[in-house]
């Protein structure tokens, strides 16, 4: 059973933005979209393992800073190449101003 982990304060992530979240030896990103929904996905792009923390968030998508693959943050689905593999996503919720992710 996945455990809910406290990733960050909801305010740590600006609207339509992303921050990095490391847990154990794994790395993730926490994304906040234009409607204050939060998402957690694997931190590394599935194309060439570039970290998405410097990516561009537009609505509920994140664009990789290296070659511009776009992923849907809710489903992890890759929308534009060069990446071909979807990103892994993790259940995310906000409670008492904290972002919790189930890893």
């Amino acid at each position: 059973m996945a455990e809910w982990i406290d990733a960050c304060a909801a305010d740590d992530v600006e609207e339509e933005d992303v921050i990095r979240f490391d847990h154990g030896d794994r790395t993730f990103v926490i994304v906040r979209d234009h409607q204050d929904n939060y998402y957690c996905t694997d931190g590394l792009c599935t194309h060439e393992d570039v970290h998405l923390e410097n990516g561009l968030v537009v609505e509920a998508t994140i664009e990789c800073p290296k070659h511009s693959s776009i992923f849907d943050c809710a489903t992890g689905e890759v929308e534009t190449p060069p990446a071909c593999e979807n990103l892994r996503t993790y259940p995310t919720k906000v409670e008492n101003g904290r972002v919790l992710v189930a890893l």
């Binding site: 933005d17 060439e48 410097n54 561009l56 664009e63 290296k66 070659h67 071909c84």
Partner: protein, 353 residues
């Protein structure tokens, strides 16, 4: 030492062993808020520029056709050719990055048109350019190195008329149309896209065949001057600006300030080239759209070598280096950094010099 640029050759292995195949390139630190503002997309600048581009192409082609067979048509053909054979290169580039327009289908539409004009398969070149960004001027890895060492002057000069690129583009098109990929492409293109590449090549060959047929039927050069040939008679501007991107600079370095060049250019060249004269900036931060590169340039200036002041000045800097590289392929330029800039990062970070 002469280099082996073959992507399937020994230098590819060497680059891996040397730790040069990595994401860990030097980046000038920029505050996240500022970076977000720089990456912000808009449709308006690219819609304006695209309307101007296609409008001018229609006007120049119309005037050229109306004036045929007079010699007065020549300047109009030449102007049309530069927009087809050179401006389409930068449209291919920007729309391939997905940064030109905010609206995705607009990027994709212009990308497809530009790919056709430039004779570049949309999928192969998407991946080849991704590799160029991952491994910029890493010998044995980067498929888009325009000036190889030692420099072969005749080959470079021939490409001012597309005499290297066009036969290569046609050869690839024929191979793709027959349902095959080339060995170098297999090292960087995802196999799921091969069928799309084959289909594109067949459609393009059909278009070129129809164009040739129309020329024969009407006993006229006009169809060929409109489609296909401008890739040759109009590509000189792309080649001229393209050589400046990395020519004479370092290779096998993990710092774009060492291997790329920013050059101030006149407004016409910047329109044709869609601001790719800010080339160090583009490589370091490829998500910044072309219309925000001047702003990015100002933000990074304290950490970058001084830009070349003009195209002639950049050539005056580069040509003697290329000449010397004919005998001494290891020779290259290293431009001084401003006081207070972060030192160059030649190799992997642990051994950064």
């Amino acid at each position: 030492m002469p280099r082996d640029y073959d992507l399937t050759g020994g230098y590819a292995r060497r680059a891996l062993d040397a730790g040069l195949v990595t994401e860990d390139w030097y980046k000038t630190p920029i505050d996240r808020k500022q970076m977000k503002a720089l990456m912000k997309r808009a449709d308006q600048p690219a819609i304006r520029d695209t309307l101007i581009l296609f409008g001018l192409m229609a006007v120049f082609a119309g005037a050229a056709i109306a004036l045929m067979p007079s010699w007065w048509s020549v300047p109009f053909w030449l102007a049309y050719g530069v927009l087809y054979g050179s401006a389409m290169d930068s449209r291919w580039h920007e729309c391939g990055h997905g940064t030109a327009f905010k609206t995705r289908w607009m990027n994709q539409l212009v990308y497809q048109v530009a790919c056709f004009c430039m004779m570049r398969d949309p999928w192969c070149w998407k991946y080849s350019h991704a590799r160029h960004h991952s491994d910029t001027i890493i010998v044995g890895r980067d498929p888009e190195i325009a000036i190889m060492r030692p420099v072969v002057t005749l080959k470079l000069a021939a490409n001012l008329m597309g005499l290297v690129d066009v036969p290569d583009g046609l050869r690839r098109m024929v191979v793709h149309a027959s349902g095959r990929m080339l060995p170098d492409e297999e090292t960087y293109v995802e196999a799921v896209f091969y069928p799309k590449t084959y289909r594109t090549a067949r459609i393009w060959l059909a278009i070129y065949a129809l164009t040739g047929l129309a020329a024969l039927l009407f006993q006229s050069w006009i169809p060929l001057l409109l489609i296909g040939l401008p890739r040759m008679y109009g590509c000189w501007h792309m080649v001229m600006t393209g050589w400046l991107q990395h020519g004479g600079l370092d290779d096998n370095a993990l710092d774009h300030r060492l291997n790329s060049r920013t050059v101030y250019m006149n407004p016409v060249s910047r329109f044709i080239y869609w601001n790719m004269n800010y080339h160090v900036e583009h490589h370091m931060f490829p998500l910044v759209p072309y219309y925000r590169l001047p702003e990015l340039h100002a933000v990074c200036a304290h950490d970058f070598p001084a830009p070349s002041r003009s195209i002639p000045q950049a050539y005056a800097e580069m040509l003697p280096v290329l000449w010397r590289q004919r005998r001494d392929p290891d020779f290259h330029l290293r431009r001084p950094l401003p006081d207070g800039a972060h030192p160059y990062q030649k190799g992997p970070r642990a051994s950064a010099a």
